[in-house]
């Protein structure tokens, strides 16, 4: 409390002193009260400031001693503090092996599928040599794989991709190869789109929970911010227009310029599939606010539920909306289980974006021999049909087993129809219903149960206790092992 003693009060004596100090103090307190009332109320009592500590760490800059690298490289060079990456690193130190290391850490943190390798291996052994080496006249010609080719990808590859994408997305949408640019995986695709659609300091709205890799893909070098739009379990974590509206308004109040909305569908990490109506609502909202829509559809072919997958491209092409604001990301890492090959797609209805992306591909293009293999693979319609049927069926089977195993432990999962993972509600295992409690559980799962699952914190989930568990690299016999470990962890926590 500040004592303000007017001179007159002092001069006039005790009474004046008392009044002279009381009145300013009262005024001061009334001012504070008034200002407090005027402050905007906190948006959500359960909202946890999850991102703030991380961004503060980044902006601290050159605090790691002598630094030779640029300021923007400093946060990149430091080891990541995200549980997503920490978990992945820990598995490498002690990876589970069914025969050689039965006590190792079981990897449930990496969304990759090995369920259909038998089919891929067979195709490779039958077709690899010819697909890479053969030129039009049937002779091997090294110039067909060695020389400079357009960085945006061979036309034959874009044609093959367009056909493949149409097929796996239900056949209701067709893709034009001239709107397509082939990238070295989904990672550069996202970054390039961010460079094209937003300036440094602009932002994308992104529904949470979201794939932790987006932080790296968008924030490392583009200078674009990600503004979370929180979704709740009550809606099965489906984004609503009102949440988008609220987030956009708050961003504008803070002086942030929002350039677009980025979301994944099927969503990662929840695995739900956005309905046609939701997609239309999103596009309508974007049109109203004159911003872009980026739909990451990298799991489009990994749909195993009953719900139909609808691509944003289909909505854009319906004629009802201005499609030049719609951009799609795709890749072969998830649906075709070949992340090592590095092949992704930017598909945009905006000619200037396609042209800019083409030029930017000189930094991220796919090796020509790999393009040749992919042309062969994606054009083999008979194989693709066989593969996609098996892929979906096997994910579905594995999903049923995994979810059933968890159910028997009394652990529910969110409803999902796509992706290589499920979104598991482990809140019953938390010692405290908070971010801290969740991270403690993450640590216990890693060190005691020896399971790496990605905690919701890493995905900016607003409700504690959710974990993403990837199950498509598991053999059936691994599932009971996992469930037993979780059961034991729960027992030991209770005692």
């Amino acid at each position: 409390m500040r004592l303000i003693v007017p001179l007159r009060g002092v001069i006039q004596g005790r009474g004046g002193l008392f009044v002279g100090s009381l009145i300013p103090c009262c005024l001061f307190y009334f001012l504070q009260l008034y200002l407090k009332r005027r402050r905007p109320p906190p948006t959500d009592p359960t909202e946890l400031p999850r991102t703030s500590s991380r961004t503060n760490l980044f902006s601290r800059g050159n605090s790691i001693g002598r630094v030779r690298v640029s300021s923007r490289a400093v946060p990149v060079a430091k080891p990541s503090d995200s549980p997503y990456y920490i978990g992945l690193e820990r598995v490498k130190t002690d990876p589970y092996d069914r025969i050689k290391n039965t006590d190792g850490i079981i990897q449930l943190g990496l969304a990759e599928s090995t369920l259909c390798f038998d089919l891929l291996q067979r195709w490779m052994s039958e077709n690899l040599m010819e697909s890479m080496m053969q030129s039009d006249d049937g002779e091997f010609d090294i110039s067909s794989i060695a020389m400079y080719k357009p960085f945006e990808g061979l036309l034959e590859l874009r044609v093959a991709f367009a056909d493949f994408m149409s097929r796996i997305m239900g056949g209701n949408v067709s893709f034009d190869p001239s709107n397509m640019v082939i990238t070295a995986g989904g990672t550069p695709a996202i970054e390039v789109l961010a460079f094209c659609l937003a300036d440094h300091g602009n932002a994308f709205l992104i529904p949470t929970p979201y794939y932790p890799g987006f932080d790296r893909d968008i924030k490392f070098r583009t200078g674009v911010e990600l503004i979370p739009v929180h979704c709740r379990s009550s809606d099965n974590f489906t984004v609503t227009v009102s949440a988008l509206e609220q987030a956009l308004n708050q961003a504008r109040k803070r002086g942030s310029k929002v350039s677009g909305i980025l979301f994944s569908n099927p969503s990662n990490p929840v695995g739900n599939i956005l309905s046609r109506e939701t997609l239309q609502d999103i596009l309508r909202f974007a049109q109203e606010k004159n911003i872009h829509v980026i739909s990451d559809e990298i799991f489009a072919g990994s749909v195993y539920g009953d719900k139909e997958f609808v691509s944003m491209a289909e909505i854009a092409g319906s004629g009802e909306f201005d499609k030049s604001r719609v951009h799609i990301i795709y890749g072969l890492s998830k649906d075709l289980s070949i992340p090592g090959f590095r092949a992704g797609v930017i598909y945009s209805f905006h000619e200037d974006v396609v042209n800019a992306a083409k030029k930017l591909m000189r930094f991220s293009s796919v090796p020509v021999p790999v393009q040749r293999i992919l042309i062969s693979l994606l054009s083999d319609v008979r194989f693709i049909e066989e593969y996609m049927t098996a892929h979906r069926q096997r994910i579905r089977d594995k999903h049923i087993r995994f979810v059933e195993g968890l159910k028997q432990l009394g652990i529910p999962c969110a409803e999902s129809g796509g992706g290589l993972y499920c979104w598991v509600d482990m809140s019953s295992l938390l010692t405290s219903y908070s971010e801290k409690g969740e991270l403690e559980l993450f640590e216990k799962l890693l060190t005691v149960a020896k399971i790496n699952a990605t905690p919701g914190t890493a995905c900016y989930c607003i409700e504690p206790g959710w974990f993403r568990c990837c199950f498509t690299a598991l053999a059936d016999e691994d599932i009971p092992v996992i469930m037993e470990r979780i059961r034991q962890l729960r027992e030991s926590s209770r005692s």
Binding site: V76, E191, F220, P339
Partner: protein, 477 residues
């Protein structure tokens, strides 16, 4: 209409440069000995096709490498899932050894200090992201590879300030020119973060001399915040290995490990690629080599944006581990390049056209100043257009390489057959012979060298500003 970013809509991609325009013209009307004998001959693309036969025969004999097999066993599963940005260790080891071999084993490379990228293009851009912030500058000796305007500046927001080199001393870097460039950058309020050289040089085709390397090292020893990046993508194209001195060799012979030397060495970085030496630009394989742990750490993570496919890494690890093959290849490659360069040089000499004496590269730096109607860049552009559209040869004008003197052109010789080269020389001869009679009366008095230098200096600041102002506004935080 929804807005795009400034980066997408500006022209810092440099695609409007005559270097790329020439390429586009060639694409519209490409020469083919059978299908289009009147087409434009591509002499503007530095591709090495002289040793394709060696590569073809290796691939035919080593099917395990191309079919995802190791000792007959399929390793498809391992390769299909491999996306570790640290790279396949067998490939990095083989690449580090190959880089050593290229330098006559005078220096060894530690594969832990190597970061793989999608081509040297990506390596250079990534290094800029790691070493410089938007608005910082790198000094580059002119003439330089036109692609740098895009690769080093576009997304990074970094500026290039030229170190002017002139034909009076064979375009060598001088201490004076380096200091003038540094002062110029300061005048423009640009923070100089480093110097980038291409060694051997593109477009000159010369190896950086020991004198020049000493000048550069003295400068970065004195100025402790400045990096030296050496793009050594043409290291294997030196006609005689002993003439190439890599920046990494500078302290390798010394025994003192003083902290000053370590500090300088940590600010020296090499960029490499297999696109020129091995003639495999389509494979998109590049690398950054650095002794600085932070640079390696940051660059490794950024390489996520351009990882080399596991298929390609595996194939190349087999190729480069075959020491018999690499030894023979490097030797043959040098021999064939030297022969081909000689043919071009002699052919041009016969037409009365001189080249800068070169000992490396896939091109010659050709002096066409006598063919200019006037000693101006406008005249150079006129000449270039005639050569592209009338003579039907795509060559790169010096102005696209930021050469301070008009009349120089880069002419590539390793991306065609000998017959095509002969045809190109024939076409050029006809053009020169036809033009000689018209040209003799048209030589005008050129400006004094000092006056033209002042003009080019102010041209530099205007040019730097024009290209950069747009993006600098965008980069202001």
């Amino acid at each position: 209409m929804v807005l795009l970013s400034r980066k997408a809509t500006c022209n810092s991609h440099g695609q409007d440069s005559s270097y790329f325009l020439g390429w586009e013209e060639y694409e519209k009307n490409p020469y083919d000995v059978i299908k289009n004998p009147q087409g434009i001959i591509q002499m503007g693309l530095a591709e090495n096709q002289l040793c394709f036969d060696l590569l073809e025969s290796w691939l035919a004999q080593n099917t395990d490498a191309t079919c995802f097999k190791r000792d007959g066993q399929s390793i498809f599963r391992e390769l299909a899932l491999f996306q570790d940005y640290h790279g396949l260790s067998s490939f990095k080891n083989a690449l580090a050894d190959f880089m050593s071999e290229n330098r006559g084993n005078r220096v060894s490379f530690d594969s832990n200090n190597l970061v793989l990228t999608a081509g040297a293009t990506s390596a250079n851009e990534t290094l800029m992201f790691c070493l410089a912030d938007p608005g910082d500058a790198f000094l580059l000796p002119t003439p330089y590879y036109p692609g740098f305007d895009r690769d080093l500046k576009w997304r990074t927001g970094v500026e290039i300030v030229p170190i002017q080199c002139s034909s009076t001393n064979g375009f060598c870097i001088t201490k004076l020119a380096l200091e003038e460039a540094y002062e110029q950058a300061k005048k423009l309020n640009l923070n100089v973060k480093g110097i980038l050289i291409t060694n051997p040089s593109n477009p000159l085709g010369t190896t950086t001399t020991q004198t020049e390397l000493n000048i550069l090292f003295d400068f970065i020893t004195k100025n402790k915040n400045i990096h030296l990046v050496s793009d050594e993508i043409y290291s294997g194209t030196t006609f005689n290995s002993s003439e190439f001195v890599s920046v990494m060799e500078i302290y390798s012979g010394t025994t003192f490990n003083s902290s000053e030397n370590t500090d300088v060495l940590n600010r020296v970085h090499v960029v490499y690629s297999l696109s020129k030496d091995l003639g495999l630009p389509g494979f998109r394989v590049g690398a950054i080599y650095s002794n600085d742990k932070d640079v390696i750490s940051a660059a490794t993570k950024m390489s996520s944006f351009g990882l080399v496919s596991s298929q390609t890494q595996y194939l190349l690890s087999s190729l480069l581990s075959d020491k018999k093959f690499t030894k023979n290849y490097l030797r043959e490659n040098q021999k064939r390049l030297k022969n081909r360069q000689r043919k071009l040089v002699l052919g041009l000499e016969a037409i009365g056209i001189k080249c800068l004496k070169s000992n490396a590269g896939l091109f010659c730096w050709v002096d066409m100043r006598p063919l200019l109607s006037s000693k101006t860049f406008e005249a150079e552009m006129d000449l270039w257009k005639k050569i592209v559209y009338e003579v039907k040869l795509n060559i790169s004008p010096g102005s696209s390489c930021h050469c301070e003197e008009p009349g120089w052109f880069r002419v590539c010789f390793a991306n065609m057959s000998e017959e095509t080269l002969k045809l190109a020389l024939k076409r050029l001869k006809k053009f020169v012979d036809d033009g000689n009679s018209k040209r003799s009366c048209q030589k005008s008095e050129s400006q004094k060298l000092k006056g033209s230098r002042k003009k080019t200096m102010s041209n530099v600041s205007n040019w730097v500003f024009r290209l950069s102002l747009h993006d600098r506004e965008a980069e202001e935080r």
